[in-house]
Amino acid sequence: MDVNAPARPPSAPMRGRFRSGRQALLGWLYATPTAVFVVALFLLPLLIVVKMSLSRWPLLTGDQGINAPDNFTKAIDHRFFTDSVVFTVKYTVIATVLLLLLGLGMALLVQESSRWNNLLRASFLVPSALGLASASLLFYVLYSPYASPLAPVVDRLGITFLGSPNAALFSTVFLIVWRYAGFYMVLMLVGLQSIPADVFEAARSDGATRWQTFRRVTLPLLRPTLALTTVLCVTGSLLAFEQFYILTKGGPDNSTITVVQLIYMIAFQGQNDLGVAAALSVLVLAALVLLNALQMRAFRSEGN
């Protein structure tokens, strides 16, 4: 967020001296560094992707000229398109529900500051210090029926972690929960602690039960935090890639292909067609923008 800060000068002076040309120039000057970064690191790549999506662009030979809208029809007609969209949505719903519930639950658990709670908070947060790819590799070994220290037990019980479609999905969800629950706990904790204590006191002196306090006081006042975490979690899950790339490679039997993985497969594993991959990326981007706008609106209107 603070990257954007220089771009928005305080609004009060803006209104007062808007007509002053020097001030406006100064404003633009302040905004320039950010603007340059936004253009160079966001707008330009975006434009290149859009151009790719409209052109025939094989990985090995580069740009072969415009062929719109072939890439988009090819992307939608791809034999894994529907499967990957359905799977990504399914994964997003499961991951979001679990992460938000667990994050909130853990935050409520460690809300009061005491020595043991500090220890708990720290241990919940530790997995977040590990990169997602490293965490995935760690679990790859843990889940491996061959290299895992759990292998003898797993073998005797006849369980498989990655061998069947559902097992692979839930093994991956477990990894994600392990890795991210602490992070969402911290976000929830910040939200909880920004609720003024006197509101709780008032509720208590009115004779509210714990459940009533939680339902009527905590949850409504936590709405902005809930909005933020939902947007973060939904966006993150829809863009899931590393965990599936490392753990399942889309298997078994192509049952765990996410949309981003499909993009990667089209671009680099076989079809080697950057144009179709870019077309799919543009579709995902549009869907995400729409979804985030809807989410923001939903939380705002309920808040009013």
């Binding site: 603070d2 990257v3 220089p6 302040y30 320039t32 560094p33 950010t34 340059v36 970064f37 094989p58 990985l59 090995l60 030979t61 580069g62 894994f80 491996s144 029926p145 061959y146 290299a147 073998d155 498989t160 990655l162 061998g163 490679k249 889309g250 298997g251 078994p252 039997d253 192509n254 292909i257 497969m265 671009a267 680099f268 594993q269 076989g270 079809q271 080697n272 950057l274």
Partner: protein
């Protein structure tokens, strides 16, 4: 602070871009001058050894052989080759990105099954006049040379040959009451041996193993079974799949039966490639179809034979990597120096054969190292009976993690479902794209 440093960074990077453009411009002008004398065709029989730095990329499975070759070359030449080893899964992406931005290294190796496509896309320079100058041209491995030949012009030489062979663990064979000196002669005997090892019920020991979620592994190990009994896997033009034929069906049936009987390492069903040989190397698998390049790193006593088919016979997949001079190389004459040395007796025998690897020239098959180890003679002999399939869309049809070939095998062997003819047509459809 943030803004100041940001601004400076921008200025600096602008300056950097400007400088880079200038350098590139100068370099480009320089090339135009050199291009006339420096082309690979004018390199002479052994190229130029003038102390240039060359870059070479290869993928991780062949790291050992590549390192040996590069070290031996650097020790005996003024040119210096810098080797970059890339993880197997990332190799195509890395080469693709470099090809698109004209940033390929001087030399790069490619999985031989991708070579036809990459030659077609123009990633390699034409080596035909140089190859024609080699006195031993006719003895170079035919499969590799053919894969890199377009319009009668060779673009690629064999870098490292990797053959799939039947390996068996002699100790486990003895424990199971099998003859440790005799290879199973056909697939039925193979299955019987696997079940016999399984029946010893030793903890952690399994009859056989395969990379059942790894398209490339299955191509490498199961195609030879089809060839051994006289079957074909692809039409001659590489645009039609014949993987629903009777020979292929027998192979699937044998493996489905093995899987059901529990004689296959359970981890095989999810094996995507990285550890598909590990269990055998650790002595926990009785017999399996295994890459010959790993012979030198298998620490216990193993038997080696060609891969049998349902009716016996023996064949092998002549895999491994081909290598050529990239389209972007400005030092083609120096790069040819490496390639011509690589094909020489010196490199083939004293580097590759010494490390128990397969030589890529048939006239060197009976070298002094092979004579010491009869298994190497077996491998070199079977190499002549092997095959290398050629198809433009090989990667997408077979090696990709979501390939239709993988779907076919998993349906036939693991899931006992799916329509074989339909799955096979899906492969043909991809091959024809």
């Amino acid at each position: 602070m943030r803004r100041t440093s940001g601004g400076r960074t921008v200025l600096r990077s602008l300056a950097g871009v400007l400088a880079a453009t200038l350098v590139l411009g100068v370099a480009a002008c320089g090339d135009d001058g050199d291009g006339e004398q420096g082309g690979v065709a004018q390199a002479g029989p052994t190229g130029v050894d003038d102390g240039s730095e060359l870059t070479l990329w290869t993928r991780a499975p062949l790291e050992k052989q590549a390192k040996l070759l590069v070290e031996a070359y650097n020790a005996s030449h003024q040119n210096k080759v810098n080797l970059t080893v890339v993880p197997n899964d990332d190799y195509v992406a890395k080469v693709g990105a470099a090809a698109g931005s004209d940033g390929l290294p001087d030399l790069f190796a490619a999985d031989i099954v991708y070579v036809p496509n990459w030659v077609e896309q123009g990633l390699f320079q034409d080596l035909s006049s140089n190859v024609a100058g080699l006195s031993f041209k006719d003895t170079i491995n035919k499969g590799h040379l053919a894969a890199g030949t377009k319009d009668g012009k060779e673009h690629v030489l064999p870098f490292v040959l990797d053959l799939s062979m039947l390996f068996w663990n002699k100790q486990l064979f003895k424990d199971a009451g099998l003859d440790p000196e005799k290879a199973p002669a056909n697939l039925a005997e193979y299955a019987a041996a696997a079940k016999a090892v399984q029946a010893t019920r030793k903890s952690g020991v399994y009859g056989t193993a395969a990379g059942l979620n790894c398209g490339g592994c299955l191509v490498f190990t199961w195609f030879p079974s089809i060839w051994a009994s006289g079957g074909e896997v692809l039409s001659d033009d590489g645009r039609e799949s014949k993987l629903a034929d009777e020979n292929a069906q027998q192979v699937y049936r044998t493996w489905a039966d093995l899987w059901k009987s529990g004689a296959v390492l359970p981890a095989s069903s999810g094996e995507t490639g990285p550890t598909w040989t590990a269990a055998f190397t650790e002595g926990k698998v009785g017999l399996m179809f295994y890459p010959a390049t790993l012979l030198s790193s298998t620490p216990f006593d193993v038997g080696v034979a060609g891969i049998p088919g349902p009716d016996g016979g023996a064949s092998t997949f002549v895999g491994g990597d081909g290598i050529g001079v990239s389209k972007d190389s400005k030092k083609a004459a120096q790069a040819w120096n490496f390639l011509s040395w690589m094909m020489s007796d010196q490199a083939q025998v004293e580097v590759l054969a010494k490390n128990k690897d397969v030589v890529s020239r048939s006239d060197l098959a009976n070298n002094r190292y092979a004579a010491e180890d009869p298994r190497l003679v077996t491998i070199n002999q079977v190499a002549g009976k092997g095959d290398t399939p050629v198809a433009m869309n090989f990667q997408q049809a077979f090696n990709a993690p979501n390939s239709p070939w993988l779907t076919l095998v998993r349906n036939q062997v693991l899931n006992g479902s799916g329509d074989l003819q339909k799955d096979n047509e899906e492969i043909t459809a991809v091959l024809q794209q």
